[in-house]
Structures are given as C-alpha cells and as structure tokens.
Symmetry: D2
Subunit: 440 residues, 4 copies
C-alpha cells in the first residue's frame, strides 16, 4: 500500500482494527449458534452476544493485542486472550472446536466483500459521470481513428458511451467476483466438521451476509480468490484503456480534450506551455500494479493437500494493494472524466485538417451508384484525393471534385455537398445510445 | 500449438477451413438481412443464400485462397474473391458496407464459443468421473495434511468431492466466460453503422447464436477476451492443484494413489522400481502454459482510439494455444482420475504410522471434559505423545494412555478406544457430499 | 509457433531434424570420450566417430524415428534404435551409462545457443541500421515530448541514438543470457556420475562449444533458462518501445515519420487517405507474446527434488515461440527503421506550431540574467506566452516579445532572436553521439 | 511493503529520510561541479558544499518538507525550499539548469544500488551457510528422487552444493543487475544538456559511485530497471526451489530434515504432533510476490516519446516491495538452512525402505558384464525386484539375489554385496564439490 494512492475508507478495511472487529463478530456469532445448538450453555452464549453490543462502539486496542502477540507468536490466540479479558468465565467457550483458519479465511471474505462494495460504488459513480458527459457530447463530432490514423467521423459522446458499456460489463463482472469470495468456512482442522457442527457455519455465514462454503479444507479454496483478483485485473485494464484514450487526446498536436487545469495553475515552473496528462499517465501505471496481482493469485491456487500457508504472505500484499489501488484509480478516473476539458472546435478542426478526405468513401459509393465501375470511381476519387493529401489539407476535396468534369457529369453540386455531410455518420447514434444506456 | 498436446476436435476449430467456413456464414447471413431490409435485391440475396446450401458439404479450398492472398495481401479480400467465383453477378453484394473486422471479430467469437463448448464438455466429463470416484471412496479414510504434515483424518472421497466442487465452480465461470465473448459486430469502419443498418448485425448475430455487441469500434472490445483468457487461467490453476495432489500421493514414501500403470509396463529401462507421475507433472507444466496467456490478454485491452491491430498477433498465439492446451489438459486429467490406482490399505497404514498421534486432540478434549484444566490435560497428552513421536510411531498412543494412571483415573478403556475411532471424523461426510453433489 | 511470424533459419533450429542431429552429435562425442578413457574399446569408438562423418550430409529420417517412437513411447530410445541400425555391433556402446536427460538438456542448450546466435546477428543488423539512420538525422531538429506534450527540441538522430544505446545494452544482455544456457550435462540419473566419468561430460561440452555444468541433478538447473527467457522479455519490451515511438510519429496529426509505403500502394480499398503503422502495431503485439514466456519460465525453476518433468511441456511451447517470435520481430523492426520515411519539414512545422513557445524557458533565463527577478521575468514571459497559446500558435512569441517594452528595455532584438535559435539545444549532440557510438 | 516481511536496514533505504539525503547529495555535488566549470561562482559552490558537511549528521525534517509539499504540490521543489532555508543567498544556484527527473532518477539509482548491496550481502551469508552445511553433510547418503520417486542415492551435501551453485549464479546475476541500474542522469528537460554541461553529470556520477548514462531522455531508460527486477524474479524463484525442497523433506512420511524447532516449543495448541515447515511455505509465497514485480517492470519500458510518468507509480510499489521482500526472504532462508535439523538415520532408512531396489541398475549391469544379454539380465533382476516391490520393502533384494541360482552362477556373494555399496554412487562427490566450491 502506497499512501498517496490510497483513500481512507478502503484503507480502513485493511487496518488491524477492522480485521479484529470482524474476528470478534465471527467468534460471537459462532458462540450464538453454539448456544442455540446446545454445544455451550445458552446463557453463556447470551452473555458473549450481549458483551458485543457494548463494544461495538469502543475502539479495538490494537496495541494491546500486538503486545500479547509478541509473546504468544499467534495472532488469533493473542486476539482471543485480549477479547477474553472483557468477559467473565464464559470466555472459555470462545473459539470452541474452531481452527484459526476458520476465523482468518472468513474474515478475509468479509474484508473482500467490504472492499468490493466500495469498488462497486466507485463503478456506479464512474458510470454516472460517463453517462452525463456522453449525453453532453452525444452529437459532438470528432474523428474516429484506427491505427492512430483518421478513419471516419464518430462523436465524442460515442467514445464515452463505449467506455460506459465497458465499465458496465465490469460492474457485472465485479458482482460475480464478489459472489466468488463471499463464503464462510467454520469447518475445523481439515474441513470435516469433526469438532464443530455445520450449523455453526451456517449461522455465522448468515449473520455476516455470506454463504457457507460447500466444502473447505481448513481453508477456503483459492480458485475463488484467483477469480477475484483476475477480475480486478480486467477492470484495471479498462481503466488503462480510457486513460490512454485521454492521453492521446491531450497530445499537443491533437488537443481535443484535456485533464482539468485550473485557471492560474502552472504546468511547469520553467515552461509555461506545459499542461501534461499526468493523472491519466498515473492511471496507466496503477493499472500495471493491479494487474501485477493476477499471476500471484493464480499461483496461490495449487496449495498442497488440505492446505499450506504459502498463499498467506501473498494475500497480505495483494489483498490491500489491489483493492486500495483500484479504488483510488477508479475515483481518479471519475474525477478526470467529470472535469475533462473538451474542445469541440478543435475536434472539428482536426476532422477538417485533411481537406475532407474522410468523406472519400462516400464519393466512391456515389459514383458507383451513378453507374461507373468501382475501378473507374476509385481512380477518379484517388486522383483528387492525392492532391488534397499532398497539399497537407490546404486544398478541399469537395472543391476539387466540383471542378472535375468526370465527377460533375455524374453528380450534381448538391449531391456532392450532401456527401460531405457529417450527419450521415451520426444517424445511428441514437440507436447505439439506446443499446448502451437503455440497459442500465 | 504443440501437436502432442492437442486433440483433433479442438485443433480443427483453429484450422483455416473452419475460419473460412465461418466467414462464409457471416457474409451469407449478412446478405440475407440486406435482402430483407432492401439494401440489396431480394432475389440476389436468395441466390447467395441458396448457394451456401450446396457448399456446406464441400471442403473449403484453403490452398486456392492462400494463393489469392499472396497477391492481394489481404485475407478477407482473398476469401471474398474465391467465394465470389462460385456466384454469378450477385457476388457484387457480398460484404456490402462491411469492414474486415466485422468478419474477423465475429468469426473469432464463433471460434471461441465453439472452443468453449468443447471445454464445457470436457468439464462435464471430468465432473462425472470425479463424482464416480468420490462416491467410490466416500468413506475410504486417509490422513488429512496441512503443511504436508499429518493433521486429522479425512476420506479420499472428500478430497475428490472438493475437486468436484472446484471444477463445478469452474464450469459456472466458463459459462460466464462464454457469454463474454459470444457477441457479434457488423458495424462498419468505426462502429457507427454509417454504411450498414444495425438490423444486419442483429440478423447475423441471431443466425450465429450470438448477441449483437452493444457498441463496437470497428473491433469488439478486448476486455471481453481478457476476461475469457483470465477464466481459462483460473481453470488451469485448478488443474494444477489436483495434479499436484496426485503427484504428492504417488511419492515413494506416501504411495496412497498412483497414475494408472498397466500390468507388464516398464517404468524405466534401467530402474525396474520406477513408476513416475509423469502425466500429472505434465499437467502442472501445461497449467503454466495456459496461465501464460492471461497477461498478454490483459495487455490487449488498451487498444488505441477506435482500434489498433496489436491484439491480433497476440490472439493468433493465445487463441489456439490456450484453448487447445486446456482441452488436452482437462481430458488428460479426466483419464488420470478415471483410472487412478487408489491404495486404501496404504492410506490406513499412513494414518497409523504415527502410532495414533492424529487422535491427540480428542483425548485432550476428553480429559478437559472430565474435569481437568486445559493445561493439565495438555501436559498429560503431550507426555505420552512425545514418547510415540520419538519411537517414530512404533509405540501406540492408545496403549500408552491405557497405562497412564492419570488418564485411566478419568477415562475408561472404552472411552479411550472410542476416542481413537475414525468414525468421529467422518460423521459429516454425508452432509458435505450433499452440499457438493446435491447442487449439480 | 505461428508460421506468419517465423523466419526459416530460426524455425529450422526447432525442427525435429535439427534436434536429432544434435542428439547424434552428443552420442558420438560421448562415445569418442569413452574410447579415450577406456570405458569402451577404442576401435569401436572410432567406428562410431567415423560413421558420423558420412551421415553429416544425409538427412535425418524423422518419419522413421517417429514410427519407432510410436512403439517404444520414448523419444531417445527411438532415436537410438534408428541410429543403431546404421552401425555394426559397436552400436551397443551408444548412450552407455547416460540418461535421457543428458541428451535432452544438452541438446536444448545447443538449440538455445544456436537461436541466440541468430538473435545476436539480428541485433547487429538492427544496430547497424539504427546507427546509419541516426547519423543521417543527427541534426534533424524535432520536438522532444514529455507526457505527449511538446517540451524542448531534440534531433531525430538523438531518438535513434537512444534506441541504439538501448539495443546495444540488449546485445550485452543477450550475450550474458547465451552464457547462462550454454552448459552441458552428461552426469547420469541423479547427477552423481555414478555410471559415467566426468571426463565424458568435459569432452562433449568442448566439442559442442559448451561448458560443463558444475553440478546437475539429472537436469540442468532451470534458473538458467529463467534468466534466458527473462532477457528475451526485456529485449521484446525494447522492441515495443521503439515500435510505439514510430506509431506515435505516424499519427495523422503528427506525421513526422511513416512506415515505408510503396508508390502506388493502396492503404485501404475504401479510404485512399489511410496509411497505417501496421508493422509497428504488430511488433507491439509480438512483444506481449515474447514477454508471456517470462512467468512460465520463472515458474519452471522450482522443480521437485532432483527433477520433475513439469518444465518440459512449458519449454516445448516457449522455446520455439519466444525465440522465433523475437527473431521475426527484430528483423521486422530492422526493416521498418531501414526504410522509415522521415519528414524533416513536418518536424520543423510541428516545432513551430506553438509559435515559438518551446523557447520560453530561454527568455525567462535571459531576462533573469539581465537583472530581473525570476518572478518578474516569469510574469512577463507568461503574459506573452498566453497570447500565443490562445492563438493556437498563429501568433509568434518572438514577435510579441519584440513589441513588449519591458522586454526590449532589457534584451536587444539580436539577443531575442538568438534565444530562438535551435542550435542552442543541439550543441551537445556530438557529445552524446560519441558516448553512444564511441563505445560500439 | 508489509512490515512483518521487512528488515530495518532495507526498509530504511526506502524511507523519505534516505531519499531526501540522496537528493541533497545530488544537488550539492552538482553545485560543486558547477563551481568548477564556472557555471556558478566558485565561492558559492564552496559554501553549498561546506554546508553539507554540517548537515550530514543532522536528521532530515521530513515533516517540514511534507508541509511545504502540501502547498507546492511538487516534491522536488518542496525539498529545495526546505534545503534553501539552510543556506544564504547562494541557495539560488541550487538545481540550476536541472530538471526534477535528474534528481529523481539518479536518486532511484542510488537507492537501488544501496538495496542491491544489502542483497549481495544476503547472498554472501546464504552462500556461506550453504557451504558449511554442504561440507558437514558432504557424505551423508540420501536418496535422490526424480518425479518424487526414489531414483538412486546422492548425498545431502550434494543437494546443498547444488543450491550453492545456483545462488552463486544468482550473485553473479545480481552484480550484473546492479551495474544495470547504477547510472546517473543530469541532462535536463529532454536529455540534450541544453542548460547544463555534461561535465556536471560526470562529476555527480563519480561522487555517487555511478556511471553517467550514455544518453537519457529526461529519464533513465527503463529497460535497465526491467532487467533489474527480472533478475530479482529469478533469484526469488531459486529461493522457492530450495524452500520447496525443504518442505518436501519435512513431510511426515519423509522427515529427512526439518526447520528448527526449539525444545519445549509447541507446534499446535491442539495437536502436539504438528511441526510445520511454515518458514519455507512462507518463502514460497514471498517468491510469488517478488516475481509479481517482473511483468509491471517490463510494461514500464515502453514510455512514450522522451518520457511519460506512468512508470513512477509502478516503481513506488515494486521498488520497495521487491527489494524488501527479497532481502527478508534471503535472510529467512539463510536462517532456515543454518539451523536446519538433518536426520541422516531417517535418510538411510528411506534409502533402505525399498529393500535395496535402488541398486537394481548395478546388478543389471553386472550381469551383462558377466556375459548375459541385456534382456536376460533384465528379466532376472525384474523377477526378484518385483517380489521386493510387492513386499513393500520388507524383503531384501540382496538376499533374494543371493538365493537365485541364475544369479549366483555368475556373481559371487562378494560381488553382489559390493554392488549394494553406496560408495559407488558417491565416488565423484569430491569432483563435484571441487567444481562448485573451487570456483568461489
């Protein structure tokens, strides 16, 4: 976790305080169920449950627990010792028949679902902003580019609608990923429930908003976590895609959009002309960081036999890093899109900079429909287009065509002008917007 | 693609013949829709459609198309030239208003769904075999191991049930991954439908069993493919997990299970005692190969603007490699599990090799319930356990306890023997099996 | 291996014919040494050695060996059977005391060094071309960009010199990587030389141009191969860097350089204005493919005990794929650089498009040196620069400054003009070229 | 950075205090050179240089700098403001003609070389311990295993010698990696030295123990860092390899070695028989973490044009994480090997557990040398070996052979016994040790 790329709510999920609070919940909920099933005296279970009420508002004394751990060398035992001090003799029932992993893995499930809920909220905000800006620029013409080269016109709203559709898919994926990790295991040393009834697990799961793991082996199987981190990797890649788009649009020669730059702000102490897309460049890097969690998570799947502990150190890194970083990245991306400076005039200027060449395909089709063969039409259009090309856009394709007798013999000036109409390219924008936003 | 790790049906999906056949379908279905929408003459559309009937049974002349491509330097144009030769003048309507990527990306979607259907069938077979063997060994006791060290007993059927649950999750994931890539794009140069009506796309999608892509940008967005390959990476990691389990079980000192070894077969020309788990070792390696596709697929997401073509070369590798290899791996794993030699006697012998130490926890609990403090109980059990430990399992914990007056004062011989009962650990096997197989 | 991304010489290294030829060499060289050390009769060794002379020119009958393998299920034994048929009774000494891995791993070492030699030659060609083009454009001014935004001038030759320096480092790395894998192991079943004298290994190593592996364990340790593939991954990333630079330079709005486009060539059948950087986009994708080999190679290191065979399937993929693809990529990159169309006028036009803003830092320094405080100077420069900025470069900073009394009071017109001299930025180009090319 | 997997000396390198101290050094050394070259007044340069003497012993007030940064939003400027306050008017010469990246990238180079020096020391310690334990067990026989299955005898010292050879290679690689990143860039906004003489760079480089970067582009090229992190990934994989070996050796059924376990220590509160290889399992996970840095580092290479800032966030994670974690891992591995409990008796017992089958190859050879055909010999040995195999090692191959007339007709009892001599397998241990340790 790098503080500058972290936001408080997500960071808090990974603080010891939160982890201990979840552990405490697990132990208390387990005791409740043990009371109900008769494994422990009902009144003791109630005492344990009642005690939680009072503490819910108290801070956890992390330092005290750490101090105990430095003696016991065992985090769960240290916590239980500390928690037990707050109880009477009913403390003996805490953790009865449970194994440390029951607490650790279930707590991780809670942390991951808490983290996912923040990420889902992040996505919702991003989607909202994308939609607003997409509608704002629904009919703002801009050049579509394939291979970085001008192709045919699109609208800036379409670009954002495409991003919306992509992040909408990511929301769906993230929900599935949440379900992957939202399971509870209270099944004992090797997952056989030898010393603890499956009903305890069912109760704890319910209280925590999780599902019981169908079958665990001391640990919850790590294919679940692999799928979770892989999904974060995909979302991060989508963040990169939109960030790269904005970086491209802000290039000096393109300058169709820019990250927000406050009036009076200085881009560089030395060079007053500098306004750099540093936020989206940063997002590009953060995407690499989140993706970096995917392979370790995949390597964590093949634990030996009923479990080994090699996954644990990996998760201490990637659990916080991937979620905190993605949360930060989604939020930053939302801000960037929200305040993005968009320059429609420059977009139009860029469309026009090739002297109307982007309409060449339509003339080709019009000549063909007027009876010429495709080869003849191509030759005529190319002949004129090359002049425009060589003039670096200072000549106009439309004007040249209007002066070419082979063209004018077949196409009227009105027909020609119509063929240079941007509207032709925008006629299905409504359909696409309906497809994208009708769904949400 | 490495021939020795490939199976014919999956390999065929990636052969030129199949790709061309799909291209042909796309062009014909598009022509059908153009006829219906009046973009092209209805009777010409019918001729194109009719021609397909005849050809469906003919092989595609890949060599002829290659020859044309060596001139045109463009695969789609080469194909269209070849296909056009089989038509009359109606050939001019083929590919009308479409762009090459419409064909290429939609065809890839078809190939990926075909590949996924084979993988789903592979998973079904694996699940069937896992279930059969799990039920066969539902109550075959074996030692559960955490950290490679004996923990407490489980059953061999439980191990397989856990694998079943994992691959059942993988089946669900693979279905979701199939939906990710099962979309169709016939939307023109930059996805605006400028020269082709969205209804064409809808028709082609329907005929191919795909959904129309909500919005494409000449290409279908690559977050879909990233999610697809990430899912294959998770499944490969599950293959590795089960393969590693079997490799462990076959180790000379453990030998609780073995890959099938035919009577009369030689393990090594030099060392008659060698019977190596080479199939599961091979699966471990193949898992690395499939996982190797995940990062390139994630890097493919951030194409520039409306598209660049950097993803294409990557997909020419990972498309065939990841699906063919995973298909081979799943099939091999199914065969290994199907014919796995299981040695219940050796499992029992291994359980017993520590002189009953695996039951130490129960004695501890029994003494506590008989009124001793946890500390006193622990000391008594440990005292006896250490003797067993030091004897390398030649002494019996049960016999030692029966001779320890501090124990016998509290626990009857019957109670002691009962505490060494394996059944205690197996009492919830039914519950777990219901959870796992009740679902399927 | 994807045929379209492969070149014949590199592909041949990975053909069975080459592998068998190397196996044969290993067996013959081993027999030679056995003859010398008295392990086998000297005259038999000579017969084996002599036989090789004759065969060196004959093709290997791969089909015949495959046929034998389909019976023996063992590739090395199949080869030995086939090879033995060409000998008299001295065939019994072939492979004496050796283990299959002795042959397989040593042969892989030979293949990898052969492949590396081709890659080194590729790098040499690329370096030569980079140097020639760098010198050609040593003093061609072009704008330097940080964050995609104009910064200060550089030369196009400097860009290429930087690429040269990077690939020169890669050459050094590749040489180190070659040394990593250039070892020979003929050490028997678990590397103890129990049945074969270490002198055999020394002799075979010498004959093959390898070094004896200090200690092997049936297999050559895989940290060597991991380092090798990691190095290829770094080189591929450098390929990507230069490819991305060219893709940027070819963008419609930038167009400072272009991949070669033959006169008369068509960029698109529909859009005559399209000239796409498809070769460098392809290189970007191929870089991902080569990098994809790195993680599997790292995962191959931790083989179990003296060896397991999980690395083998991985290497059957990444051995050919990574070397063939990198060979193709380096060659393609060389061609792209060799024939790159460079547009110095457009470079100058781009430098000028911001009305001289790229020189703002120098005026700032000049005013400071003329006695103004940095704050005052900054305000004066910024005041004028903003006008230029808002004019989208149609105003000239130099002209504005010449008309600003606060400026002219301190700086003469000559001094001002001098401050807009590009030469200021190019004065150390010689130094840098010496640093870069003086080394090679 | 996860505190529990970090050691103080390495962590300190990545603390702000150290970074600022290096920045300070860079600025002072640059001023020295500017004084010498006449760029700034010599006496001012001396004042700046002198001031450093006094401060070298003072702590850096990180909080004060942070406070300034919260206003300036620029870390280097914040530092310069703070540092300037400690100087008189000569402060104006600080950072003259330099760009922030000059400081940042050169400082990173210093941090990485500092980190590498610690890692090299770690490797030295590990090598020393490996060598000591290797020599201690040079002739301790243990079974060699391929595929997890008994093959032929080796010694435990050989296993450690092999690890030594591997880490010795890693030391060489790490030295090369250090050289990769040990370069200095003080070359200005786009690396042209427009505003700063190359001699400044040369001086700073010399004072910091670095080499001048041949040509930088505002930033030091990232192929260097990619190579660095790739090397750490290889070393981490070697850590994993040895860790996995130890985990295998400690398995209940094998138990040839164990991580140190203090007398009186408890392995588990519930199960007194548990002694888990948790340190080496942890190392396995940490290896995944370090390897996780490799791909992001490779993706950092292709920065746009003269630079973008996407690499920066990545390096804020992987710089500390990969070096701190590898430092911790190497140190932990050293401790594990240092105190490893080795059980030669158990090793012998395991060798013997197959009733002498591990010697079968020698009998085969002996019978062949006594005149039988290989086929006859094989049949005789196999006949006896299978009986031993089926007895699970309770029968002795040697005894059976002594009772087989077909054997005794050819081999005397003495010859037979000699063939079961372990010494046969150990005769070249000296040679191998010389090869491995003679080098160091």
């Amino acid at each position: 976790m790098v503080p500058r790329y972290s936001r408080p709510a997500m960071a808090a999920i990974w603080q010891p305080e939160n982890r201990y609070r979840i552990w405490w919940d697990i132990e208390v909920f387990a005791a409740e169920a043990m009371g109900e099933t008769g494994m422990i005296p009902a009144e003791d279970a109630q005492k344990i449950s009642a005690a939680r009420e009072g503490w819910a508002i108290e801070p956890i004394d992390v330092e005290a627990i750490d101090k105990i751990e430095s003696v016991t060398k065992h985090d769960v035992i240290a916590f239980l010792t500390w928690a037990g001090e707050k109880l009477g003799p009913e403390r003996r029932w805490l953790h009865q028949g449970m194994t440390s992993s029951d607490v650790l893995d279930t707590a991780l499930a809670v942390q991951l679902t808490q983290a996912t809920d923040l990420l889902l909220a992040d996505l919702d905000e991003l989607l909202q902003v994308l939609r607003r800006r997409a509608e704002e620029h629904k009919l703002t013409p801009t050049i579509g580019r394939s291979h970085g080269i001008h192709a045919e016109p699109v609208t800036f709203g379409l670009k954002l609608a495409q991003a919306y559709a992509e992040f909408d898919r990511n929301r769906m994926r993230l929900r599935a990923a949440r379900a992957e990790v939202a399971t509870c295991a209270i099944s004992g040393a090797v997952g056989t429930f030898a010393n603890i009834d499956p009903r305890i697990e069912e109760h704890v799961a319910k209280r925590l908003g999780l599902l019981p793991e169908a079958t665990s082996t001391q640990v919850i199987p790590r294919d679940r976590h692999a799928m979770f981190f892989a999904t974060l990797g995909v979302i991060a890649s989508s963040v990169e895609r939109l960030a790269v788009e904005i970086r491209h649009l802000q290039r000096t020669e393109v300058l169709e959009a820019e990250e927000y730059f406050a009036p009076g702000q200085k881009g560089s102490s030395a060079m007053p002309h500098k306004r750099n897309p540093v936020l989206t460049e940063n997002l590009t890097g953060l995407a690499r960081v989140v993706r970096g969690a995917v392979t370790p998570a995949l390597e964590n799947v093949a634990l030996w036999h009923e479990r080994d502990i090699s996954h644990s150190s990996v998760e201490r890194f990637i659990g916080p890093d991937a979620t905190i970083t993605l949360d930060f990245a989604l939020s930053r991306l939302t801000q960037v899109v929200d305040k993005l400076l968009v320059y429609p005039e420059r977009m139009q200027k860029n469309i026009d900079r090739m002297g109307g060449l982007v309409h060449s395909q339509r003339i080709l089709l019009a000549l063909t429909q007027a009876g010429l063969s495709r080869e003849e039409s191509y030759a005529i259009v190319q002949r004129n287009a090359m002049k425009v090309w060589e003039s670096d856009g200072s000549l106009s394709l439309l004007e040249l065509l209007k002066g070419d007798p082979e063209v004018t013999a077949r196409l009227s000036p009105e027909k020609l002008e119509e063929s240079f109409d941007l509207g032709y390219h925008l006629k299905h924008v409504d359909t696409i917007f309906e497809r994208v936003f009708g769904r949400s």
